[in-house]
């Protein structure tokens, strides 16, 4: 019994010590193989603590192993980098916020894609970090001043310059206009309703049989008109042919109209008829020898 107690107690103590030591080492150093060390010197590192992550291009490659203040006033940060990762040449380190509640991380930013790497134990140069709270406050202060100037200008324009009064007047006018438009629209709506009702009653009154017969009469008339038109076209052609003959002097009528000789002979004939008429008038007995019995 005594020996069994000793074994159990000893086993428990060994397990507890092993677990405790192993857990502590794992948390503090990242395991028995804690990778290799690299260093960064920061002029300012508020919030930096050991255990905070080290990111290379956003990938977690290690953690902060120690943060010590150098007598020369700079902060020496020891980074524990996992053995499987290397830091490319030209990489710069910066303290970056991790979340919004003041936690920090070390951001390693490679300058470009290279195949040469910094040696283990090197000091990584510092780069431009993210804005500090002071810088953000200064920026916010600047923005606030701009907003204040803008507010002043707006006040001058709208309050002192009477812009708001104009806006109110415009708004009132717009309201009035909208009211008028509403009235017009209402009246138009009534008129349209009435017209629609009349149209509907008119359409209802039209007898479809009458419409059909009327359409058929229209069709017959149109056919007749087409025949008349054809006949007129034929007559026009004939008239044009006659006129062409007259104009060309073809035929009796054409020659009568166009031949100067005919004209001369007619003229002579008329003259002779005149002289004949005069002679008849003067000497009727020469021509008219009327005897009764």
């Amino acid at each position: 019994m005594k020996r069994r107690d000793e074994v159990l107690v000893g086993l428990l103590l060994i397990v507890a010590v092993t677990v405790g030591v192993a857990g502590t080492v794992w948390l503090a150093r990242g395991g028995l193989s804690s990778g290799y060390e690299m260093y960064v010197r920061f002029p300012w590192g508020a919030g930096l603590k050991n255990g905070q992550p080290v990111l290379l291009a956003g990938v977690n490659i290690g953690f902060v192993k120690a943060v010590k203040l150098d007598p020369n006033g700079t902060l020496v940060v020891t980074l524990a980098i996992n053995n499987e990762y290397q830091v490319p040449e030209g990489t710069t380190a910066a303290v970056a916020p991790n979340g919004i509640f003041g936690d920090q991380l070390i951001a390693l930013q490679p300058e470009r894609a290279v195949t040469t790497y910094m040696a283990r134990g090197d000091t990584i140069p510092t780069g431009k970090g993210t804005p500090t709270t002071g810088e953000l406050l200064a920026k916010g202060d600047s923005i606030a001043k701009d907003v204040e100037a803008l507010t002043g200008a707006l006040r001058t324009e709208f309050v002192d310059g009477g812009g708001i009064a104009n806006l109110r007047q415009v708004t009132a006018d717009m309201a009035k206009l909208v009211t008028q438009l509403g009235t017009i629209a209402e009246a138009q709506s009534v008129e349209l309703t009435r017209t629609q009702r009349q149209l509907r009653s008119t359409l209802a009154a039209i007898d479809s049989g009458t419409v059909d017969s009327t359409l058929r009469a229209f069709q017959t008339s149109a056919t007749n008109v087409a025949a008349v038109t054809e006949e007129l076209r034929h007559a026009q052609t004939q008239v044009r042919s006659i006129l062409e003959k007259l104009d060309n002097g073809t035929g009796t009528a054409g020659k009568l109209l166009n031949d100067p000789g005919v004209y001369a002979r007619l003229d002579t004939l008329l003259l002779r008829l005149d002289s004949l008429a005069a002679d008849v008038k003067a000497n009727p007995r020469r021509y008219i020898n009327l005897r009764v019995f």
Binding site: K2, D5, V9, L12, L13, V15, A16, A28, G99, D103
Partner: protein, 263 residues
């Protein structure tokens, strides 16, 4: 007249407190003297280490597992949007290692081990077994109190170490199974601002609590009044006093060592 009565009551209470402190001081002196009785206490110490430590492992781990899981789960859902998830690991580790691990383990063991200790010694007192030991020239303090005190001082830190590991393991398991926290977030959080002294701080508390449990409970058993009722009263008083002592020591250790656990 009431003033005189109040004054007398105050004086009586003060005397009682001073008498208790003095009695504890004598008891502590007897324990210190008993260290020289090397033929008596080492063997019993091993047995008490088994009783206090080995037999409490399962209970301690179960309590710690629930403690870690609930702590991590609640922490995750109390985070404001935008807070990095690694904060869960950080808060869980700090809560468990610095406070809840040692404190809850000690309070649980007060019920399980302390009460048993008081009942055992108290029963021996009321059945005059302690008087018999004295008659046989055995130092009862060397046989009963010193082994329990040493066992408490040694085994509580061991149990707290196991409890811390079990709680953190349970927290990790709970987070990856029941929440959106990933292993990498949790491990990152565990490592943030960790310094080995935080584990030492946890062990300091555990040692203090272990000593308090063994000392107070064995003393209350040692002075138990006759009868079963006396043992029962002694046991109840031991649990109450030990619990208050543990919380008081917790505050004292925090006040003294808290500045050193900051990374």
């Amino acid at each position: 007249m009431p003033l005189i009565a109040t004054w007398r009551a105050l004086g009586k209470g003060t005397r009682a407190v001073l008498r208790e402190i003095g009695a504890h001081g004598y008891y502590l002196r007897d324990i210190a003297r008993a260290i020289s009785e090397t033929d008596t206490w080492p063997r019993e110490t091993i047995r008490q280490m088994r009783v206090i430590g080995v037999e409490s492992v399962l209970l301690t781990i179960i309590v710690a597992a629930f403690l870690g899981g609930v702590t991590a789960f609640q922490t995750r859902f109390q985070l404001f949007p935008g807070v990095q998830l690694s904060a869960v690991g950080l808060i869980a580790r700090q809560s468990i290692v610095l406070e809840l691990g040692p404190l809850l383990t000690a309070l649980v063991l007060t019920g399980r081990v302390g009460a048993r200790m008081t009942a055992e010694i108290g029963t021996m007192r009321v059945t005059e077994q302690i008087d018999a030991l004295e008659t046989l020239a055995y130092d009862p303090v060397a046989f009963l109190s010193l082994p329990r005190l040493l066992a408490g001082l040694v085994m509580l830190p061991a149990l707290v170490m196991l409890a811390n590991v079990a709680a953190i393991g349970s927290a990790w398991l709970t987070l990856i199974l029941a929440t959106d926290v990933r292993t990498v977030d949790f491990v990152d959080g565990l490592r943030i601002a960790f310094i080995p002294f935080q584990v030492v701080y946890s062990l300091i508390k555990a040692t203090a609590f272990g000593g308090a449990i063994a000392f107070v409970c064995s003393y209350q058993g040692y002075i138990a009044q006759a009868g079963a009722e006396g043992v029962g009263k002694a046991t109840a008083r031991a649990v109450v006093i030990t619990s208050v002592a543990i919380l008081t020591l917790d505050a004292i250790v925090a006040a003294v060592f808290a500045p050193f656990v900051q990374a």
